[in-house]
């Protein structure tokens, strides 16, 4: 076995699609991974599935598969994705349907289930990691609970010759680590190798974030071609040494700086990055620029995995109402401030029931508060924003209404008012004993 090339075809559910097509056509890859499952996505998908049992998988699943499936099948590129969200089995059936429409035959699709642990957390006594409170305090409002599975089900599906593997909640790095375990016959108890493989997955899981996306700062960190950003490829050797690169001629860049930023992205203790497969240690990682857009990576290590899996629990937390309106020209800031004062007073007069209220002037203090948002000049335009947390949709709607009525009742020259109200499905997490979580594979063959 020489090297394995894995492409990262999506870094989040709404990501661009054509960079994945470019990887398939020009990337000389053997595996294409789509990571599309943010924390809350699965809870929203679970709500959709409760209304219609045939949905609950990623909304762009069909589009992505239509874009790559024919070429992947022709080139023998295997696809691994967590686009199954709350319903991997329905997702696999959808992929089968698309393959049939495209005239593809001889395709094996594996769906991974078992991450849904709603029944387990409902009957057990678990602690919310974020607050230290008992999970029972939100028991009646839980809509989803999913444990982060590791590499095992994906490796098993690959051993059973699956061409496409669709999962629900799986740790993001596992989507990339699994094909390496399968191809190189690594032991899943070789903790240093599992740690190095986790570095690969971690660097690739956000796709364009390592090839120059989420990076450019003109004059300080310039990046060319962000409108046609190339997504990353890891070329991995049997000993775990790997190189990050991208398709020649695509936009963006792979440098020591882009790699370092991504190594620390969403990391707490870099010596103990806990996944279902290993406790990875990133502190010994070394990057070497070996050519333009080619960075070699060594030094990832690891320690034995823990006895617990993290579960992400979605629950209906509250409702949120929002309104915004803009002011411009001389005195814009003072009119924006007056607008905010008026809305706050109106919410009191009208007795709108809210638990939390935030008032911002976009252009002045909306992102970082007043203390550090300093500027010498008054901006030409500002946008007043009022957001409140409520316990019902009805009250949430009333907040945006009090911003919109500024048109005819508020300061001069208010324009472009918008309002919205939505239910907030929030996430907490808990640790579930590994022994309670059992995965299952389901196959579709055409």
């Amino acid at each position: 076995m020489g090297t394995i090339r894995i492409g990262s075809g999506a870094g989040y559910s709404g990501d661009r699609i054509e960079p994945a097509v470019e990887l398939v056509e020009k990337g000389n890859i053997q595996y294409l991974v789509f990571e599309c499952l943010a924390e809350r996505t699965i809870a929203i998908a679970q709500q959709a599935k409760m209304k219609d049992p045939n949905i609950g998988y990623d909304g762009l699943l069909a589009q992505r598969m239509e874009a790559v499936l024919i070429s992947c099948k022709a080139k023998g590129i295997k696809i691994i994705t967590n686009m199954g969200a709350a319903n991997p089995i329905a997702g696999a059936q959808k992929i089968k349907e698309i393959a049939q429409q495209l005239g593809i035959s001889g395709l094996k699709i594996a769906a991974v289930t078992g991450d849904d642990v709603v029944e387990i957390v409902r009957i057990g006594d678990y602690t919310i990691l974020e607050t230290g409170e008992s999970l029972s305090t939100i028991k009646d409002t839980i809509v989803s609970a999913n444990a982060y599975l590791g590499t095992k089900p994906i490796v098993e599906a690959l051993k059973n010759d699956a061409d496409v593997i669709i999962t629900g909640r799986v740790a993001d790095p596992a989507l990339f680590l699994a094909p390496l375990l399968y191809e190189f016959h690594w032991s899943d108890e070789d903790w240093d190798r599992m740690g190095q493989g986790t570095v690969i997955g971690h660097l690739l899981e956000c796709a364009g974030q390592i090839t120059g996306g989420y990076f450019a700062d003109p004059g300080y960190k310039d990046v060319d071609g962000l409108a046609r950003l190339g997504f990353p490829i890891a070329e991995v050797q049997e000993d775990g040494t790997f190189m990050i690169t991208k398709v020649p001629g695509s936009g963006g860049k792979v440098t020591l700086a882009t790699c370092k930023e991504q190594l620390l992205y969403e990391i707490h203790n870099p010596a103990a990055y806990i996944t279902p497969d290993v406790v990875a240690d990133f502190t010994g990682v070394t990057f070497t620029q070996i050519a333009d857009n080619q960075v070699q990576v060594t030094g990832g290590k690891g320690q034995k995995k823990t006895d617990f899996l993290k579960a992400s629990i979605g629950y209906v937390d509250s409702y949120m109402g929002e309104g915004q309106i803009s002011y411009a020209g001389p005195g814009a800031v003072n009119r924006g401030k007056l607008a905010l004062e008026i809305v706050e007073e109106r919410l009191k007069i009208m007795d709108v029931q809210y638990q939390e209220l935030k008032v911002d002037l976009i252009g002045i203090n909306s992102l970082h508060g007043s203390k550090i948002s300093t500027t010498e000049y008054e901006p030409y335009e500002v946008r007043a924003r009022v957001t409140g947390r409520t316990q019902s949709m009805k009250e949430a709607i009333r907040i945006g209404n009090e911003v919109e009525t500024l048109y005819t009742n508020g300061p001069a020259g208010g324009g472009g008012a918008t309002k919205s109200a939505k239910q907030i499905v929030a996430m907490v997490s808990a640790l579930v004993p590994r022994s309670l979580v059992k995965y299952k594979l389901h196959y579709e063959v055409i």
Binding site: E39, Y220, L263, L264, S318, S370
Partner: protein, 103 residues
């Protein structure tokens, strides 16, 4: 001098916790970062935003610091009222931090 002159940065989020990397453009300037960009300084800088502890991890191997900011995202990415729910713009704020010029 502004931190931006010698370092670059990226923000990540998990629940109500934000992490901000501070990476030396030139690895030889890492020690300046280690000396002047302390957890205490970052906590004071973000005192309006960060309600919990700030912990600093060092990665001399890549010339970087990693700051973990607890109770930093208005109750968490999925429930905050903040416009920038993920706190993605916090790294840019930190780049505005004033640090002493080295002789």
């Amino acid at each position: 001098m502004k931190l931006r002159e010698i370092a670059h940065s990226r923000t990540g989020d998990k629940g109500n916790i934000s992490n901000i990397s501070v990476i030396a453009h030139d690895p030889s300037q890492y020690l300046i970062l280690e000396k002047h960009v302390t957890a205490q300084k970052v906590k004071e800088y973000f005192s309006d935003i960060v309600k919990g502890d700030v912990i600093r991890y060092t990665l001399p191997n890549i010339g970087a610091l990693n700051f973990v900011l607890y109770s930093a995202l208005g109750g968490g990415v999925t429930r905050t009222l903040s416009l920038d729910a993920h706190g993605k713009s916090l790294s840019s704020a930190l780049m505005n931090l004033e640090i002493p010029m080295e002789e």
